[in-house]
Symmetry: none
Subunit: 356 residues, 4 copies
C-alpha cells in the first residue's frame, strides 16, 4: 500500500469520526433545548457560570493527549456558547446584555417621541436654529424664516460648554426666555442644552426638549436628573464614545423612568482633520437594529463644513436617520460661536429645498 | 463728563481709526492686485517668502507698543496671507498646493474612466465578486448570477495581502487565469489587486483594471509602475490615510502619465469596533470638491457587517459616490477569507434589487 | 520702466501703507488701554459683545472691495481680540492664548500643591489605593500596608461613574466616611472623585484632595465649583482630550481662584486594544514645558495591564512625571470594579520596591 | 420528579455526551498525527484547502438541526484548525497563534542581532544619522562626530518614501554608495531603508542592516524578499498597526528563514496633534513579553519634537527598550526632508551626554 493510499485510509477514519461527532453534537443540542424549556417554565437563568467552570475544570484534568489544555478549553467553550445560543433561541431572548431597556428585546415597537407638533420616530424631523441664543433680533429672524418654511421645532443654546473659560458661555436663563418667547410667537417647539443636573428643574419651565451635549454624555448625574422628569431629551453621542457606551448612557435616562429619549449621532474624534469630526454614519443602522429609540444626525458638528452639508444631509436620510439637526444663523461671520459652520439664511433655504 | 461719556468719546476715536484702517487695507488690496497682474504676465511666483520674512522682521524691530511682537506678527501674517489670496484670485489659481494633477484646478472636466462596458464617473458602477478567487466553480457561479443581473464588471483577488503568513495568500497567476476566463465567458470586465511592482506587467495581460489595496496605498514603487501603464486602476484609501495623503498617492500614478485612476473610500481605522472600519462618508463629497477623479465606496470593508449593507449602499449613493464595491461569495461560511462579511447569492440579489 | 521695477515701486507703496497701518494700530491700542483703565475703575466688564457685533456689522456693510466679507471680518476680529488682550493686560488678566493662568508665561515658578504631608511638584508622589471604597475591612487592609511602606496619601472611589447604570455606583457619603476614617487612623491624606457640582461642598468635609475623572474633564460646572474652593484637585485628562483642551479645563479651575491643581495623564483612546488606553507619555514633558502645574501619570488606567506596570512606572518617572497613581486592592478577583487591573498586596509591594 | 431533578438528569446526559466527544476528538487527534507523519516523510504540505472545503460543504448539507450552518461550520473549522496545529507540532512548525516563530513560546532565549560591532538585544544600541543622505560632506560631518562619541552604527535614507511625488525622493544607489563609504571611513555599520522587493539584492551589497519603514510594514513581498536573505533588518511598526499585526509582519520575515529581525516602535496615528505621532510606549514591554525579538524606539518620528527628545529617550530606556533611533543633521533648517525634527550637532551631543 502506498503512502498516499495510507493517507486516504486514515482520512476515511477521520470522516467517520466527524460524522459521529456531528451525531453527538445534535443529540447534545436537543438535550440542552429540553433543559432550556424547563428553565423557561421555572424562570431560571439560562447561563450557569459555575457549572460551566466545573465542567471545563473537569475536562482539562482528564487525559486529553494529543490536545493541549488550551485547545480543549477553546473547543468546549465554543460548544458551551453555542448551547447558550440554542437555549436562548427557545426563549426568544439571546443574552444577558440584551436586557437593557434601550434594546429592541425590551420593547416590541419603536419608540416615538412627541415634542410639540413633531414626532421623532416617524417621518424625518428637521431641527434648525443657531448655535447660541445671542439676542431677540437674531432669534426672531431665524424663527420667522423657519416658520415660513413650515418647520415646527427650533434650537438655540443658552448654556454653552466651551473649551476656554474666556469664550462666550451663553446667556443662561435670559437665553431660555428669548427662546421660549420666539417659540410661542412662531409656534415652534424648543430644544436647548442643559449642562448640569441643577439646571434641569428651571430649564424644564422654558423648554419642550432637553439636549445633552457630547461632552456630557457620561455626566450621569445630569442623565439621572433628566430621567426623573418626563420631558423629551436629545442625547448626543460622546466625542469618543462607542455605540455600546452611547446606548448605556441612554439607559441611565430610561432606567430612571423617562422613556422619551432621542439619540443623536454627531461624529467621533479620529485622526482625520478634513472634517471637524468623523461622521460615523454606520452607527445609525446599527443603533436602529439594537435599539427601539429614534436616532437623528447632527450634520453640523459631524462635519464642521458647510460645503458638504447637502450631501451629508441626503446620505443621513438615505441611511435611515429619523431626522437632522443643523445650525442656522442670520449672520454667521459675526456669530459668537461656531461662526465657520453655521449656515446663513440663504444656505438654509437651499438645504431645506433639497431635503425637506 | 461721566466715565461712561468718556468711554463713548474714546470709542468714537476707535471707530474713526477703524475706518481709516479699512481705507488703507482697501488701498493695499488694490496695489497687491496690480502686482499680481504683473507677476502673471511675467510668469513670476505669487508668494515671495524672502520678502515676507524681511517685512515681518522690519516691522517687529520698530517701536510697536502697546502691542507685543507676537501680536504684530500675527496681524501682519494675516494681512500677508490675504494678499496672497487676493493675488491668486486674479490668476484663477489659489495656492501652491492646488497645482496637483489630481486637483480640479488642473482639469476643467471630471475624469471618466472606461473599463470594458462600464464608465466610472457617470452613472454609479457596481463591482461585485468574491474576496478571493478560490476555484473555477466558485467564480463561475458568481459570474453567472452577476451576468444575469446585467452587471458588467467582476472582482476577485488572486494576490491576497494577509496579516498572517499562514493565512491563504491567493492563487496567484492561476487566480488571474480563472478570473480572465469567467470574464470572457460572461462578458464581464475584470478587476483584481496587485501587491508588488513586479506583478504589474504580467497581471496587465489578464486584467481590465488593477486594484491597489489599502495596505499598499503608499507603496510608491507599485503606484509608479502602474502609472507607467495606461490601464485603469482602483486606488483604495489607506487604513489611516488622510484625504490629503490619499490624493497625493493618486498623484504618483497621474504623475507617471496614467490618468485612469478611480479612488475608493473603504473606511478608516478608529477606536470604534462595532464596525470593522469606520466609513468616512464625508470624504466622498470632500474629494469630489477637490478632485476631478471618480470615487466609489467599498461597502464591505468599510463596515465588515452584512446586516447594514443595504443602508450603507443607499447612503453612499445618496452622498454622491460614483459606485460601490461589495464582496459576494456562493458559500461564505466556507470562504477562504473574509467569510463573515461576504454576501451570499440571495443577499446579493436583495442588495441588487434595492440599489440598482 | 521694466515690470520688475514696476513691482518694486508698487511694493514701496505697500510698505508705506503698512507703516501707516502700524501707526494707526498703535494709536488704537493706546485708546483701548485708556478705555480699559476707566472700565477697571468703574468695574465694568472688558468685553462688550453687543458693541463688537455692531462694529462688525457696520464694517461688512460698507464697500470693502477687493476684500470679501469673510476676510474683513477675520481681520477685524483679530484686531478686536487683541484689543481685549491689551485691556486685560491692564487688569492683570488675559484671554490671550499665551497668557492662560495655567501657562508658564503666567507664573515664574512651578506650582507646588501640598496635600497633608505630600507636596506635588517636588519629589514624585505615589498615590495608591483601591478603585472603589467597598467596606471598612478592605480599606483598612490597604491603608495599613501603605502606612507600613511610609506612604502618605490614599485613594478610594466613593462616587463611581460607570458605563452601565447596573454596575456598582460607589458607596457615596458612606464611602467618604470610611476613607476619612482610615486616613485619620493611618495618617494618610485622602483623595476621591467627585462627579457633580452639588457634591463638592459635602465632599470637602471628608477629603484632602478632590479628583475629577476623565469623563468629567469638561464638566465645567464641576470645575467651576471646585475652583471656588481652595482645596487641591487632581484633574484627569479626558478620554480623547487634546493637550490643549486639557490645559483649558484646568484654566476653568484656576480662573475661579483655586491654584491647587495637579494634572493627571491617564491614557487616551486609540485604535490599539493591547492596552485599555494608550499612555500618551509625551504629554508629560510637553505639559511641563507649557504649564507650571504638576503632572502625574495614572499607570493603572493608561494601560489596564498589571504585567507591564513596573516598566510603565519606571518610564513615567524617567520622563519627568511628578508622581504616579495606581490601584491596589486586597483581593482583586472579588473587587466590585476594575477587578482585572488592580494590583494585589504582593504586586503592590513588588512595584513599591522597584520605584520608591 | 421535580423540574430541578429533571434538569439534573438531562445534564448528566450532556456530561456523558461530552465525555464521548472528548474520546472521539482524541481518536481524531491521533489519526491526524499519523497522517502528518506520512506527509512529513513524503514532503507533502500539511494543509489541504480543497479537502477542507469539501468536508465543510458535505457537513453543512446534512441534517444538522438544531444547529445552524454557521454554528456547525465554526465548530468544525476550529476542529480543522486544531488538526493543522497537531500536525504542525509533529513537524516542529505551527500556525497556532501561540506558536508563531516570533513568540517566546517558539524560542527559549532572547534573539540577539549582531550588526558590525553592535548587538541588538544586549546593552541599548543608539542609531543616529540624518533622515536622508544628501551629499558626501553632510554624511562625513555626521559620521565624524558620531565616531568621536564612540558610536558604531549610522543611518541615512537613500530611498525616501514621501507623501508627495514632488518631494525629494532620495539619491538611490548613489546614496547607498555615500553611506557605505563613510561607514568604512569611520568604522560605522550602516542601516538604510529599502522600499521595494526589487531593491533588496542591490542594497544588500552596500548595507549592514535593512530598514523597513512604517508605510511598508505590510508590504509582504518586501518582507519575504528580506526574509530570503540573512541580513539583519529593522522593522518599523506601521502607522496604525496593532501590536498583533506588527508581530505578524515580523513573522513573514522569520518564516522565510531570516531570524535577524529588530522591531522598532515609532509612534501610532491618533487624534492628538501636539506630537507628530503618539509614542505607544507600552508596546515595548508588551512586545518583550510576547516575543524574543529585540525592540528599539524611534524617538524622532514618534514625537516629531526636538524639545522633548531627552525626556523621551530616558523614558524609552527606562521602559526596557533595546535601543533608540534618532535623526541628526549638520544643518537641519536646510535639510531636504524632516527639517523640523532633526537634531543639529550640538543638540545631538547634549542628548548623547544625557543618555549614553
Amino acid at each position: 500500500m502506498t503512502q498516499i493510499q495510507n493517507i486516504q485510509q486514515l482520512r476515511q477514519q477521520v470522516d467517520y469520526i466527524d460524522d459521529e461527532l456531528l451525531q453527538l453534537l445534535k443529540k447534545r443540542g436537543n438535550i440542552v433545548q429540553q433543559i432550556a424549556q424547563i428553565k423557561q417554565k421555572e424562570k431560571l437563568p439560562i447561563q450557569d457560570i459555575e457549572r460551566e467552570q466545573q465542567k471545563l475544570t473537569k475536562l482539562v484534568n482528564q487525559h486529553i493527549e494529543p490536545y493541549s489544555k488550551e485547545q480543549i478549553v477553546s473547543l468546549y467553550r465554543l460548544i458551551l456558547n453555542q448551547s447558550i445560543d440554542l437555549q436562548n433561541s427557545i426563549n426568544g431572548a439571546s443574552s444577558d446584555t440584551n436586557s437593557l431597556k434601550v434594546y429592541r428585546t425590551h420593547s416590541q415597537h419603536n419608540t416615538k417621541v412627541r415634542v410639540g407638533d413633531v414626532v421623532f420616530g416617524e417621518e424625518p424631523v428637521y431641527i434648525f436654529g443657531p448655535c447660541a441664543v445671542e439676542d431677540e433680533q437674531q432669534m426672531d429672524t431665524v424663527a420667522n424664516v423657519m416658520s415660513q418654511k413650515g418647520l415646527k421645532i427650533i434650537r438655540g443654546g443658552a448654556y454653552k460648554p466651551r473649551t476656554s473659560p474666556y469664550d462666550f458661555q451663553g446667556l443662561g436663563v435670559r437665553g431660555l426666555e428669548i427662546l421660549k418667547s420666539v417659540g410661542e410667537k412662531y409656534n415652534l417647539a424648543t430644544i436647548s442644552e442643559v449642562v448640569d443636573a441643577s439646571q434641569v428643574e428651571v430649564a424644564a419651565n422654558y423648554l419642550d426638549m432637553f439636549q445633552v451635549g457630547a461632552r456630557n454624555m457620561q455626566n450621569f448625574q445630569l442623565l439621572k436628573a433628566i430621567g426623573r422628569t418626563n420631558k423629551p431629551v436629545l442625547l448626543k453621542r460622546g466625542l469618543s464614545a462607542t455605540v455600546d457606551e452611547f446606548l448605556h448612557a441612554a439607559e441611565y435616562i430610561l432606567n430612571e423612568g423617562n422613556p422619551n429619549v432621542v439619540l443623536c449621532e454627531r461624529g467621533i474624534r479620529t485622526y482625520e482633520r478634513a472634517t471637524r469630526n468623523t461622521l460615523d454614519i454606520s452607527s445609525v443602522p446599527i443603533i436602529k437594529r439594537l435599539s427601539h429609540l429614534p436616532i437623528i444626525v447632527d450634520i453640523t458638528h459631524s462635519t464642521g463644513r458647510k460645503d458638504i452639508m447637502q450631501e451629508i444631509a441626503k446620505a443621513s436620510i438615505a441611511v435611515g436617520s429619523h431626522g437632522l439637526m443643523c445650525e442656522v444663523h442670520p449672520n454667521p461671520p459675526i456669530a459668537l460661536s461656531d461662526k465657520n459652520q453655521q449656515l446663513n439664511i440663504d444656505e438654509f433655504k437651499s438645504l431645506y429645498d433639497v431635503i425637506c
